[in-house]
């Protein structure tokens, strides 16, 4: 506990040094100051201490953090965007940050109460949960505290694009402070997603902890359309070029695709072969054939952003799904931990069940070295985990995952499957007693629902986990 208090104090001391507006410059410098005004691509500020009035060109800045915890990332804005940023500081007290906000390097937003930042670990209690969780500082880009202060865990240059990407989600937790400032970002034309915030998609269930992790809105449609047109044009040009290049006599072509029985090539040569390869001028593959258009039934792909009134972005679906899977792993670790109070375990089981579409979802389990698979409903499965003989269990998921296209079912919901590998490690007296890697196929259901916002009914959606299958590797 003493250690935690020390750590908290350390954060406060460290963060109090940042209790100013802070400018992060592209040249790596940081300036603590009071930002007075932003207009016409210029930022006027008063140096802390000397009170000297200075002006900086926005193009020299990476980003600025305001006292209230809000921030602007200039490095990710287009030239037009920079031109449209206006800000005028006003006197006010308090901050607009309603929750401590942890922003991870992979652009996820976690909100709640940060309890401690220990060596390499951030301990926090997610909003709406009584259970403490932890995150490795190596995975985190920034924490914005309710005090308005912030702490970077990576270089400002690395943090800037992450902060830009999650801005619309972070905005949900930074309430505007009356009289504090006037920051107009709505007119900003971002390079990325910074100001595309229209309406956030919200989960259906109130008690779903993942509700706190709101998702990025899709990129602007016009941009997507333009990109596709451009891509299509390039593709056609490439096709024509390729055709001219590759039109060879049939015999030559047949020779090229000659495959010997014993040596059917893999997709790429073995590592050693690649290392031997001389660099080629033409490193990019020219795609001469692309997938045909999908037929009638509806499948959501990356290119398709909207369907049936729902603004479904495939990337967002992927992120939401993987977040739920990550949450499930965290709950399993809590449930299996012998140090977790019985009551807390039960609470974690309840919360874990809310990640699923319903409690009829089945989970297949296998054991190392055995081809046998056993199936349990989700709640009995979690109850069994509670009874595991290990002192502590770690459930983590490997970095790579495959997420299928989404397909519409006859119930109007959309279905997809995530395939990933789970690393399960059980500890007894601090030592690894059991560990295995299993491949899981996790069915994910995307459910749409309607919500009345300012008198208008809008279509929203959320994802839920469903059946979890296991693939036994020989």
């Amino acid at each position: 506990m003493k250690r935690q208090i020390f750590c908290l104090s350390a954060i406060l001391v460290c963060a109090s040094a940042l209790a100013q507006d802070v400018l992060y410059l592209k040249d790596g410098n940081k300036i603590s100051c009071d930002v007075a005004k932003i207009a016409g691509k210029k930022l006027e500020y008063k140096m802390t201490g000397s009170g000297e009035q200075t002006t900086a060109d926005l193009s020299q800045l990476l980003m600025t953090f305001f006292k209230n915890g809000d921030y602007l990332v200039f490095s990710e804005m287009s030239d037009d965007g920079l031109n449209n940023v206006t800000y005028k500081a006003k006197e006010a007290s308090g901050t607009g940050v309603t929750q401590d906000i942890i922003i991870s390097k992979d652009e996820k937003v976690f909100v709640g109460k940060v309890n401690a930042v220990e060596t390499g670990q951030i301990k926090y209690t997610p909003k709406g949960s009584i259970l403490a969780m932890s995150k490795s500082t190596a995975d985190v880009a920034v924490i914005i505290f309710t005090s308005g202060k912030h702490q970077l865990f990576t270089s400002p240059a690395e943090a800037a694009p992450v902060l830009s990407a999650v801005k619309s989600r972070v905005n949900s937790y930074i309430a505007p402070i009356e009289g504090k400032s006037e920051t107009e970002v709505s007119e900003v034309t971002p390079k990325k997603e910074q100001t595309t915030a229209k309406k956030e998609n919200e989960p259906v269930k109130e008690k779903d902890v993942a509700k706190e992790k709101k998702e990025i809105k899709p990129e602007k449609k016009e941009e997507v359309v333009k990109e596709s047109v451009k891509e299509e044009k390039t593709k056609k040009e490439k096709e024509a070029e390729e055709k001219a290049k590759t039109e060879k006599p049939k015999e030559e072509l047949a020779e090229e695709v000659q495959v010997k029985k014993e040596t059917i090539e893999e997709v790429i040569p073995a590592k050693e072969e690649i290392k031997k390869e001389e660099p080629k001028a033409e490193t990019k593959e020219t795609v001469i054939q692309t997938e045909p258009e999908e037929k009638k039934p509806t499948v959501i792909k990356e290119e398709e952003k909207e369907f049936a009134g729902l603004d479904i972005d495939f990337e967002m679906f992927k992120r939401k799904s993987l977040q739920k899977v990550e949450d499930l792993g965290a709950y399993i670790s809590i449930i299996a931990d012998k140090n977790t109070e019985w009551q807390e375990s039960n609470k974690a089981i309840d919360l874990a069940c809310t990640l699923f579409v319903n409690e009829e979802a089945n989970v297949e389990v296998s054991s190392k070295g055995s081809p046998e698979k056993t199936k349990y409903k989700i709640r009995p499965y979690l109850n069994r985990i509670k009874l595991l003989k290990y002192d502590r269990v770690e459930v983590s998921w490997t970095n790579i995952s495959y997420v299928s296209d989404l397909r519409k079912g006859v119930d109007g919901n959309y279905y997809g499957v995530i395939t990933l590998q789970q690393v399960f490690t059980g500890f007894i007296e601090g030592k690894v007693a059991y560990t295995d890697v299993t491949k899981k196929n996790i069915e994910v259901v995307l459910k749409g629902y309607e919500k009345l916002v300012e008198g208008k009914t809008i279509g929203l959606w959320d994802v839920f986990l469903s059946d979890i299958g296991v693939v036994v590797t020989s």
């Binding site: 047949a254 029985k261 893999e266 997709v267 045909p292 983590s396 970095n399 299928s404 079912g409 499957v417």
Partner: protein, 272 residues
């Protein structure tokens, strides 16, 4: 080799070692990236779709590697099988990658089927049955998998035993009193039905499920039959092994005529 490439390769291997669990080696991660994890992934690789997991992985880890559709398709064959007919393979690849009329696969194609070997409990005993499923498009862009046929030996009626056993031609005169004996004659039951009667296993299957005699236990194995490419039939099976060439891979490839395709449907998939 460029210094930059060497550095990237080194950084990649160092970083994966640092961040991976001990149990999960680079080798595992690479195998997983290359593995054809779902039928969807099989289709996307066959079609040479862009922005896929594999393409991203290769771009990141082997920036100099070139990927084209031919190499992707070759990677979809089970390379542990050394009996592939090289001539046929070449013909197939040439056919599907033909510049003027390439062949692609779609989840919503009509002529592909899942042959699902299942374990059932029938009157308390373990029994195996095979279900053939296909994707059925529904209204409003929805779709679903449906069972189109079933193969289950335990649901077959016994063949003809004693051809002399029958309802004699004068049975009508006794108001078919002989039905009593006929329908108790389990071994010769088919003798009492018309000659062209077909033992419809799917109907028998539904009936047994409906009356609770047949209970599903588990799926044992799945084979996908792709018949949608003109002149070819391929089967896809899962090869769960620790190798880059793993997952859902082509296990057989046969060049067929339309008539042979029809026969295949009838004999292998039990579809008329």
């Amino acid at each position: 080799m460029k210094l930059e490439t060497v550095l990237i390769t080194i950084i990649f291997f160092i970083s994966t070692r640092v961040f991976s669990q001990n149990i999960f080696s680079d080798h595992h991660e690479e195998n997983f990236a290359f593995e054809v994890k779902q039928i969807d992934e099989f289709i996307e690789r066959f079609n040479n779709r862009e922005n896929t997991l594999l393409r991203e992985y290769i771009k990141t880890n082997y920036p100099e590697a070139k990927i084209d559709r031919t190499s992707l398709i070759k990677g979809l064959f089970n390379q542990a099988d050394t009996t592939w007919d090289a001539v046929q393979l070449n013909q197939f690849i040439e056919k599907v990658t033909n510049f003027s009329s390439p062949a692609f696969l779609s989840f919503y194609d009509k002529d592909w089927y899942a042959e699902v070997d299942c374990q059932f409990i029938y009157h308390g005993e373990d029994e195996e049955a095979t279900l053939i499923l296909l994707v059925q498009p529904e209204k409003d862009g929805a779709s679903k998998w449906v069972i189109t046929s079933a193969k289950a030996d335990f649901l077959r009626l016994p063949g003809y035993q004693d051809s002399t056993k029958s309802l004699n031609p004068i049975s009508h005169a006794t108001d078919f009193m002989g039905l009593d004996k006929a329908l108790s004659d389990q071994e010769n039951l088919l003798n009492y039905f018309r000659r062209d009667f077909k033992n419809d296993l799917l109907t028998a299957f539904i009936y047994e499920v409906k009356n609770g005699s047949l209970k599903f236990k588990q799926v044992n194995n799945i084979i996908y039959h792709f018949l949608q490419i003109d002149g070819w039939i391929l089967t896809i099976e899962q090869f769960a092994r620790n190798s880059r060439n793993s997952g859902w891979l082509i296990s057989s490839l046969v060049k067929v005529s339309e008539e042979e395709k029809r026969m295949y449907k009838k004999s292998v998939l039990n579809i008329e």
